[in-house]
């Protein structure tokens, strides 16, 4: 099993790098796999990934967490406020605690009182938005360096690591432009360049989640609360306690994601989550309620965001179009082999349109890149929805003793 899994992972990574490498070679745009791009993509991906991971925890225990955005907002605020008062680590802690309070609120409403989970989550989003705005006015208006809509700067920095002995040789290898090798080098170097301790923590949280939820008795019980809580209860699992623990932890993760954002921009600012809680939810669905796929989804968002922002003369957007076309052709080919003719024709057609666009247009509006992750998520939902499997009792209020 583990052997199969690691083979699948290596296979996926190999395919991804090959596609990137083909695109990079055709466009001769080194930025696509450069050290800086990958390092920055990790920074943009981490908050989204944390929100996605938060979604996994809540929904694996059978509670839909639409309130992720709200919990993330609470996290950004907590980090801005405590970070300004007592330094960056206090900010991280406060972000986690504020997020946990949001999680607790959802747990009380959805688990104890059986309120419709979508409504409860939406309420938390609205509440968090209003509350943080109000508190920002109260706390930051007269603070030096702050304002009605933003906190003063957070004190101190999260340590970041650059391992020169790895980055330097790999970066020079990247610049040689050898097919596959130099792209792999750029990507590897990016992992060790300006790596924030919070990114490492994010990675560890993913590893921990994979292990805890899928390899331990605790995880089995927690997931049973999301698959069939009535059966779990009949076997003596304390379903309500598991749901509480999962939803509060979900809030903590979302809060940490929010703290990450505030710390990355050194201040809290009204609206600086910019919908990343919802994007996290999308990556969770993209990833089939599993950590690996969720992380891949978050990386896709982070990578595309980075490419769009560091773009020179629209070259990266052009590269993305080509990459998209290559991916579509690959999926189309796969579909053909699986004898799904209609889907295959759809993908190949779409791929051809993109190839045509790539070779005929001289410039693309950068908005194309902005919407790319959303379109990809929609494509995944449209084509893979038969294979996506949310927890069976996700979103269904649970009452002990009910018959199902």
């Amino acid at each position: 099993m583990t052997y199969l899994k690691s083979r699948r992972f290596i296979g996926a990574a190999f395919t991804a790098i090959t596609m990137l490498s083909i695109t990079r070679t055709i466009t001769s745009n080194g930025d696509l796999t450069s050290t800086v791009t990958i390092a920055q993509a990790l920074v943009f991906a981490s908050p989204i990934a944390l929100a996605g991971l938060a979604g996994i925890w809540a929904e694996r225990a059978g509670v839909i967490n639409i309130g992720l955005e709200g919990m993330m907002i609470l996290g950004t605020f907590g980090a801005g406020w405590a970070g300004w008062q007592w330094g960056v680590w206090a900010g991280v802690l406060a972000g986690v605690i504020f997020g946990a309070i949001g999680g607790l609120l959802l747990a009380v409403a959805a688990v104890t009182f059986g309120v419709d989970q979508i409504i409860a989550g939406t309420a938390i989003n609205l509440l968090a938005l209003g509350l943080t705005k109000f508190l920002a006015i109260v706390l930051f208006t007269d603070a030096p360096g702050g304002g009605q809509a933003q906190s003063p700067p957070i004190k101190g920095d999260i340590p970041t690591f650059t391992i020169d002995s790895i980055v330097e040789p790999l970066t020079s290898l990247h610049e040689t432009g050898i097919f596959f090798i130099s792209d792999l080098a750029g990507i590897l170097a990016g992992l060790f360049y300006n790596l924030s301790l919070l990114t490492i923590i994010t990675f560890l949280l993913f590893a921990m989640t994979s292990y805890l939820l899928w390899k331990t008795a605790f995880g089995l019980r927690l997931r049973s609360a999301g698959e069939n809580p009535w059966a779990a209860d009949s076997l003596g699992v304390k379903v309500v306690q598991f749901k509480y623990a999962a939803v509060v932890f979900s809030g903590m993760l979302a809060g940490l994601g929010g703290a990450y954002l505030s710390i990355a921009s050194t201040i809290y600012r009204n609206g600086n989550t910019a919908g990343r809680g919802f994007i996290g939810l999308a990556t969770m669905i993209f990833g089939d309620w599993r950590p690996g796929g969720t992380a891949a989804g978050a990386l896709m968002f982070g990578y595309i965001d980075t490419l769009r922002l560091i773009d020179t003369g629209n070259q990266n957007v052009k590269g993305l179009i080509l990459l998209g076309a290559i991916i579509l052709f690959a999926i189309g080919g796969l579909m053909l082999r699986k004898a799904k003719r209609n889907s295959a024709i759809g993908f190949l057609l779409l791929g051809s349109v993109m190839i045509g666009a790539y070779f005929s247009a001289t410039s693309f509006p950068p908005e194309v890149a902005q919407v790319a992750p959303y379109i990809t998520t929609l494509l995944v939902l449209a084509t893979a929805s038969q294979n996506l499997r949310p927890p069976a009792a996700d979103g269904i209020p649970y009452r002990k003793g009910d018959n199902h």
Partner: protein, 354 residues
Amino acid sequence: MLKGLKLASILAVASLALAACGSSGEEATESVAPPEPTVAAVKVGMAYDQDGKGDGSFNDAAFAGLSKAQTDLGVEIKEVNSGASATDATREELLTLLADGGYNPVIAVGFAYSTALAAVAPKYPDTTFAIVDSVVDSANVGSLVFAAEQGSYLTGVIAATASKSGVIGFIGGMEIDLIKAFEAGYIEGARSVNPDIKIESKYMGAAGDNTAWNVPEKAKTATDGMIANGADVVYAAAGGSGLGMFQSVKAAADGGATVWAIGVDSDQYTVPSLAEYKDIILTSMLKRVDVAVFDVIKGVVDGAPLVGIQNFDLSKEGVGYSASNSAVSEFSGAADAAAEKIKSGEVTVGTTVQ
């Protein structure tokens, strides 16, 4: 189970929409009595867009004009915010609230108020309204527009003169005509100095994407990219996102590079919340919203309200560049010469990127 998934996705979208309607707070912030009421005190109502003061930029500039009027003219003031996700309906409510409360003039700060003001102004013919950055066609509305392209032309001249690499950058907030005029002027100014100069432009969001003004971390990455590509002067017209440009330029300067940032709207060199970045702020494109706001209030106090289109351009000193950082004096000769040419009509600056 798929039904649940569908429901969840639909409601996720719905909750976004709900959040947009629900959060627009009408946060009355301050109501200060006049120090020495002259005659019958004029009551000024001011409606900010988004979160109002504290942006170290546009809204703070409007407030500066208001507080000057408060001290110099002894007017009574009332300030309200529309909130980050306001709709036209809530903006209308705010303006109606102020007009009903006897505030005259009522000043709407920001283009977002255009639709709301067009609906409210005709209902209160005896109240003078003003709107910053937009044109509303009504007999009792003063439309305060700024020739941002002229001011940006000057910063473009300064940027091109200061740049050693021949590459400069521009960070825009939302990609709308208002901000594109900044970009257009900047590019034209830079090219007037160095026709071969390379200008990299990046917007933080498409039209309608309100997050564009609040994503400093994205502005930082974009600026990092520009600097990595050789840019040594970067100009941002991006509201709260502009902070990211300052952070990026400061980091590059700390790393030993000679790089400059150019601020916008207010004199960002003197803004307290940006004190940390002072050293790298070469100049700021001044959009004298304070002058315009003060003039509107003064007009009402003097009994000669400013209505119709009021174009605050270089000749009216409605736009310009700041010389607070002494480092700019090296380049101000070129900028002042350009300013004279614009004033005399020898140079006309376009508002669309060529």
